[in-house]
Amino acid sequence: MIVRFTLNGRPREVETEPHRTLLDVLRDTLGQLEAKEGCAEGACGACTVLLDGRPASSCLTLVPLVEGRRVTTVRGLERDGRLHPLQESFVAHGAVQCGFCTPGVLLTALWYVEKNPGADREQIRQALGGNLCRCTGYTKIVDAIEAWSRRATAEAGP
């Protein structure tokens, strides 16, 4: 079957089979390796993408469900070759260790904080409940998101 969708703003058309997941298509068909396979059952968050702006497990998204939709991976966060301010905050706070969970965490955090401007630490922790990190103990990840959340809110003004 042919499935058409937008990947990071660019229209894509792939020849695939209905039993493939979006994760299969991203990695194996399109060679986009930023979405990772962790648990393959929707619990770990390593394969998180944004589907029409909301987080989804690409490992649980059968590819027919993507037809006509907008898919964003972590590569979609850069602007003119520069990292997104949230990514800069991750670098500044040392919030990345092995990096396997990072794309999913970034996309989840971006979605959540844009929807809940000024989100506090506890809210951020709750929002990341579905994204597992086995390296950092989460502290620096939450630090990075909180710092960006505060700065973004301050810049947006009262």
Binding site: P18, G42, R54, S57, L60, P64, G130
Partner: protein, 288 residues
């Protein structure tokens, strides 16, 4: 994943015909339970009928009811102003379902028809006395929520029936609450409780519904707790007695996640919290 034959019908009639014609055909809605089962080859359907194109995603307020299409996604249930206003129990319960990703694609009908014994939405629907609309080869019928859930992963739906919508009575004037305890955020809860409490002008409980999830193969209504409340002033002592009465009638089983004794303890504690919250909300509604 084992390949399957794939169909995406545009009408409920066509979808039913495909289910009826092909043994072992499975419906695909949001896929949040089905896809893991396919990945692990726990489910190996020869035919998958994708119902995402069916016009079943509406939330409609009708006289005294909110009619929810089976394809209403969890996040829509969570955010819909009609749901939050007219059946807030559903918005409260669905916020516990899985994680944000599950709520993006997961559907109301999928969760109900899958009928995991610990799932939140079946418990809420039994507490709200919802009615399920099903369409099959033999025609349409309505099934009360209390008769829909039969056993773990087993419902009253026939193999060729599709759950198309759920009619939920509005809980105007009553207070509702949903509480649960899960080991980790997003896990299925060990125990969940839905409570609906209506208080009359004299300050007595006119009606109460207490329903537990996670204690048996299907949601369990607690008649002892409801009887302990009806006709009485919902004081903290009365609520504690009702929660205790609920516990005494329960015999939860032990499994790898928790002992039966711990589940019974949780049931009492969570029932008390749910009833307190529902009562406070009922009284607030009264004042307004």
């Amino acid at each position: 994943m084992i390949p399957f034959e794939y169909h995406a019908p545009a009408t409920v009639g066509d979808a039913v015909a495909m289910l009826a014609a092909r043994d072992g055909a499975k419906l695909l809605a949001g896929g949040q339970s089905l896809v893991p089962a396919l990945t692990y080859r726990l489910a190996r359907p020869g035919v998958l009928v994708d119902i995402n194109a069916l016009p079943l995603a509406d939330v409609v307020r009708t006289n005294g009811h909110v009619r929810l299409g089976a394809l209403v996604r969890h996040h829509v249930l969570e955010e819909s102003p009609d749901v939050r206003r007219w059946c807030p129990l559903l918005a409260e319960a669905v916020a516990y379902v899985g994680n944000a990703r599950v709520r993006t694609l997961g559907t109301l009908g999928g969760s109900l028809a899958h009928a995991d014994p610990a799932a939140e939405l079946p418990v809420a629907m039994v507490a709200l006395d919802a009615r399920f609309a099903a369409v099959g080869a033999a025609g349409s019928r309505e099934i009360p929520a209390g008769e829909f859930f039969r056993a773990p992963l087993t419902t009253a739906l026939a193999a060729d029936e599709i759950l198309t919508a759920v009619d939920v009575p509005v809980t105007r004037g009553a207070g509702t609450a949903f509480v649960e305890l899960a080991r980790r955020p997003g896990d299925f809860p060990l125990v969940s409780v839905a409570a609906v409490v209506a208080v009359d002008r004299a300050g007595r409980v006119a009606d109460a519904r207490v329903v537990f999830g996670g204690l048996a193969g299907a949601p369990q209504r607690s008649a002892p707790a409801e009887d302990a409340l009806r006709g009485h002033e919902p004081t903290p002592e009365r609520i504690a007695a009702a929660a205790h009465a609920a516990r005494r009638a329960l015999r939860p089983e032990t499994d790898v996640f928790a002992s039966g004794a711990y589940r019974a303890h949780l049931a009492e504690v969570l029932a008390r919290r749910a009833l307190r919250t529902a009562t406070n909300r009922a009284l607030t509604v009264e004042v307004r």
